[in-house]
Subunit: 158 residues, 2 copies
């Protein structure tokens, strides 16, 4: 059972990664930029560090990803009034529009796909996904994986 689950999940992840690689180009964005844009649009506002944590990336990488999106005029940087260190990332109108465009056909597809399951099951699926995410995240936060190197690594990200 766990076997089948593993099989299905890992293949699914791979297909999705691939799909995202392809999809991203559609709007002249890298995969990571896509994720970042979605994050900022969903949250409305994020600091670079928050973005890094959200995407499980190093803050330096997050910074560069953000810069890319600023260049493409999808995000805007704004320094915090109180704390001069903070840089808030805000979606521009264009950023919001692109994000909506990227998401809309995806949502349509999902909606269609979910239709064939009954409502109770659909709800359970979402619950499961969240549960999975929580579990994995916990493991990751506990310090990077189950085996080996339990030490130092992972200090700077998230």
């Amino acid at each position: 059972m766990a076997q089948a689950f593993n099989e299905a999940l890992s293949e699914l992840v791979r297909v999705i990664q691939f799909r995202d690689r392809d999809r991203a180009c559609c709007h002249d964005l890298s995969v990571t930029q896509c994720y970042a844009l979605k994050g900022v649009v969903d949250e409305g506002k994020m600091t670079v560090n928050e973005l890094a944590a959200h995407l499980y990336l190093d803050k330096s990488t997050a910074s560069r990803v953000a810069n890319g999106l600023v260049e493409k005029e999808m995000l805007e940087k704004r320094r915090d009034e109180q704390d001069g260190r903070l840089v808030h990332l805000l979606p521009t109108e264009r950023g919001r529009r692109v994000q909506r465009a990227i998401e809309s056909d995806l949502l349509a597809e999902y909606a269609e796909l979910l239709e064939e399951f009954d409502p109770a099951f659909r709800a359970a699926i979402v619950k499961l996904m969240r549960r999975l995410r929580k579990t994995f995240r916990a493991r990751v936060d506990a310090s990077g994986g189950s085996c080996c190197f339990v030490g130092d690594r992972g200090g700077s990200r998230a």
Copy 2:
């Protein structure tokens, strides 16, 4: 609903990607090498092209990934008797052992996680995952994504 589903799924994928990044190092393998090893072990035997298709990678990348695993003595190359062009990838004993090791704790974790859902639901989950995979794959095969560039791209991979 589709919204919640998308949210959960995309976050899940991201966490898993991150988890895999961390986990892989445990056995001195890259994430892709892990996937490749699993593929070959599961299938018992694969050509480079088959591996590429399986992982949604360019054949050149697949070739290099395979070489990496051969160097680490987890895979073995063998030319086909009939068709001299074909290179079969076969798992070594060591490869099989490592693959088992990588998978075992993962499976234990999944088993534990699945326990809290009742059997019928568990089965449905797997079904859904497969369904998702199939849908995405179909979309991808149809030629790389929903929008833009419907042409040339994607010809050489898969």
